[in-house]
Symmetry: C2
Subunit: 381 residues, 2 copies
C-alpha cells in the first residue's frame, strides 16, 4: 500500500468516454484554403457522433442507401471492400510470420452509419507492436471548408457539407533492430452536394502511401522495397513513382531535426486530377503490394543477432518516429485535435522509444549511414 | 558490414547547423492576439542569429549597454543573475544526491548578445536524465504582435519591436518508479519601444512554475511539494497559490487523454498586473524553493525496491510526458517551430518511454489511483 490515505476517486477512469474520430488520416487540407495549410482545422468534434463498441464485425459500415444493391458498384462500396480485404490479408501475413501472436480486434460503429475495426498485435515474437486499422466515417464539414476545397465561388453560400471518408492505416514495429518498421495508409474521401445547394459539385480525393523506416540500411532491402512501389506505380502512370517518391521524402520530414523519419517509399494526397476508376485501381494495387514489399525483408532480418548498442540505436530512431507522428503527421495531429479514437490513432507509436541528449553517431558508422540517408534522401533504384 | 554498397554521403550529418532559439519557453501568446491562441505564431527564425559554441561561461550574456554598471540594478541584470544562481544551486544539489554523475555543460552565445548554458546529467545512479538550462535571448518581433500584446491603437504603425527574454528551465527524470519527475521554468520577457515609435510603451511579463509528475502517489510527498509551493506564494499574495495551482492543473492538460501530465504545482504566465519588483521577488522565491520542494522526496524514494511492473507503469507515464511536451507544451512546440536549439528543447523528454495499446489499470490499484488524480485534480493541502 503506497498511499497513507487513499484519495477518494470522484470519477472512474474507465468511465471517461473515448471520443470519436477514428484513425482516419484523411487530409486536413481538404478542409482548408490551400494557401493557409498551417491554420488549425475546424473542429469536427461536434459533427461526428460517438462510437459504440460492437461484438461482431458488420458486413459493411456503409449507411443503408450507400450499401444497397443499386449502389454496390459505387466507389464507396468498392473502396470499403478493398480496405477490409487488405486488413485481412496483411494481418494474416503478419500472424503467419510472427508464428504465434494473434491480433486483438476492436470493432466499433456509429448510430448513423460508419465505424471501424482496429487490430493490434503487441509483444509478438517478431513484432513489438503491429496495428492495422480500417475506418469508415460520415461527417459534416462547414461550408467555408467546402468552398475552399472546391474553389467554389465565394459568393455562393451553401450550408454544411456532408462528407464520407474511408481508409486503412497501419504501422508495424518489429523487435529486431535490423528489421524495419513499415507504415502504410490508403484513404478515399468524398463530399456530397451541400444540403441547400443541390446543384453544387460533389468532390472526391484519394490519398495514401507506403514507407519504410529501418534503423540500419541493408541496401538490397531498400532496393527491393522501392522496386515493388515503382512496379505498382508504373502499371498506372510512369510519372507516379518519381513524383510520389519525392512527395514521400518531403512529407515524412522532421523539420526541427532536418532529417526524414526513414527511407521513404511513396506518398500522395488530395489526388483527384486523374480518372476516378484509375485511382481506385492504383490505390488497390499499392495496398495489395504491401505484403510482397515488406514480408521478404522481415523474413531475412527477423533473427539477425544484435547487441545492446544496436537496440539502443533502434530505440533512438523510434524516438524520432514519435517526434514525427506527434508533431507533424497530419492524420495524427488532426485526430488528436478533433477527438478521434485515441487508442486507434496512437497505435502508430512504438512500444518503446528513447531520447539521448546530443547523440551523434560516429562518422562512417552504420548508424551514421542511416542518419545520412535520412538527411540526404537517395534514389534507391 | 551491413551495407552491400555504402551510400555516398553528400553531407556530413554533424555539419548540419543546429538552428537557434534556446529552450526559452516564453509564451507564444505574447506575440499573438489574445483571442486567437491557436494560430501559428510568426516565424522568429529569421530574426534571431545563430548560436556559437563557447569554451567558457561568460560573466553575463547581456549586451554591453544592458550589462554596464549604470544598468546593474535593472530587472534584466538581476533576473539573469537569479537564473544562473538557480542553475548552479539546483545542479549542485542534483549532483550531490546522485552521488557520482556530473552534469555535462554546453555554453553558446550569439554575436549580437545573448546566449545560454545547457547542463545535462544522463544515466546517473538516481536520475535517468536531468537537464537544467538557462538562456538569454535578444530578438525582434513584428509590429502586429507588439500591437496585439500591448493593445496599442491599431492605427499606430510602429516598426519591428526589439525584445529581451531570459529564463531557467529544467526537467529531472529519476530512474526509480517511486521517485517523481520534476519540472520547473521561470522566465522574464521585455519589449523595447518600437524603433520608429520611441514614445510607445515598453512592456514586461513574468512567467513560470514548478510541477511534480510521479508514477505513484505518496500522499505525504505530494502534500510536502504543494506546501512548499504555497509557502512561496503566500509570502507575496494569498491569492497566488489557489490561482496558480489551478492554472497549473489547466495548463498541463493532455486534452486527447482527458488527463493531466501529473499532480501539478503552480504555473503562471504573462504576469504583469502586479508591481514589477514584487514579481521579480516572487519568481526568485519560487525558483529558490525548488531544491527544498523536491530533494527530500527523492531522498525518501530513490532506493525503494520495485518490480518490472512498476517500471513498465513509470514508462507508460513517461509516454504521456512525451505526448504533452510534443503536442501541447507551448515552450516546446514554439521552440520546434521557430528553429530553437533542438537538443536544449528536447532535453525535457525522458531517456525512455513506452506506449501500450489500450492500457487501463485495474480499478482500485495504485496505478489507477494515480490516473484518477490526473483525471480529477485534487486539493492536496
Amino acid at each position: 500500500m503506497l498511499l497513507n490515505t487513499p484519495p477518494a476517486p470522484t470519477l472512474t477512469p474507465k468511465l471517461i468516454p473515448h471520443s470519436s474520430l477514428p484513425n482516419l488520416s484523411f487530409p486536413p487540407s481538404t478542409f482548408l484554403p490551400k494557401s493557409k495549410p498551417t491554420r488549425t482545422p475546424f473542429l469536427l468534434r461536434a459533427m461526428i457522433e460517438k462510437e459504440t463498441p460492437e461484438a461482431h464485425r458488420p458486413d459493411t459500415f456503409l449507411r443503408d442507401y450507400d450499401a444497397s444493391s443499386s449502389s454496390s458498384l459505387s466507389v464507396r462500396n468498392r473502396f470499403e471492400k478493398m480496405i477490409r480485404d487488405v486488413q485481412d490479408s496483411v494481418c494474416a501475413a503478419i500472424e503467419a510470420a510472427d508464428g504465434g501472436a494473434k491480433f486483438k480486434e476492436d470493432v466499433w460503429s456509429r448510430p448513423g452509419g460508419g465505424g471501424g475495426i482496429s487490430r493490434v498485435l503487441q509483444d509478438g515474437s517478431v513484432w513489438e507492436k503491429a496495428g492495422v486499422n480500417v475506418s469508415v466515417v460520415y461527417g459534416v464539414m462547414p461550408p467555408e471548408a467546402y468552398r475552399a476545397a472546391t474553389s467554389a465561388n465565394g459568393n455562393v453560400k451553401p450550408g454544411p457539407v456532408p462528407f464520407f471518408a474511408a481508409g486503412v492505416s497501419s504501422v508495424l514495429h518489429p523487435k529486431n533492430p535490423f528489421a524495419p518498421t513499415l507504415h502504410f495508409n490508403y484513404r478515399y474521401f468524398e463530399t456530397d452536394a451541400p444540403k441547400d445547394a443541390p446543384g453544387a459539385p460533389r468532390q472526391w480525393w484519394f490519398g495514401g502511401g507506403t514507407d519504410l523506416t529501418p534503423a540500419y540500411i541493408f541496401e538490397e532491402d531498400v532496393k527491393h522495397f522501392h522496386t515493388v512501389q515503382k512496379r505498382a506505380c508504373d502499371k498506372f502512370d510512369p510519372s507516379f513513382y518519381p513524383r510520389f517518391k519525392k512527395w514521400c521524402d518531403d512529407y515524412f520530414y522532421i523539420k526541427h531535426r532536418n532529417e526524414r523519419r526513414g527511407l521513404g517509399g511513396i506518398f500522395f494526397d488530395d489526388l483527384n486530377d486523374y480518372d476516378q476508376e484509375m485511382l481506385l485501381g492504383f490505390s488497390t494495387e499499392c495496398a495489395n503490394s504491401v505484403v510482397s514489399a515488406y514480408l521478404p525483408i522481415i523474413e531475412k532480418r527477423k533473427d539477425t543477432p544484435f547487441t545492446d548498442q544496436h537496440k539502443a540505436w533502434q530505440q533512438l530512431r523510434r524516438g524520432r518516429y514519435v517526434e514525427f507522428n506527434l508533431v507533424y503527421d497530419r492524420g495524427t495531429t488532426f485526430g488528436l485535435k478533433t477527438g478521434g479514437r485515441i487508442e486507434s490513432i496512437l497505435v502508430s507509436l512504438p512500444l518503446t522509444a528513447r531520447w539521448e541528449y546530443d547523440h551523434a553517431p560516429e562518422e562512417g558508422s552504420e548508424e551514421w549511414k542511416l542518419l545520412d540517408a535520412c538527411i540526404n534522401p537517395k534514389e534507391w533504384i
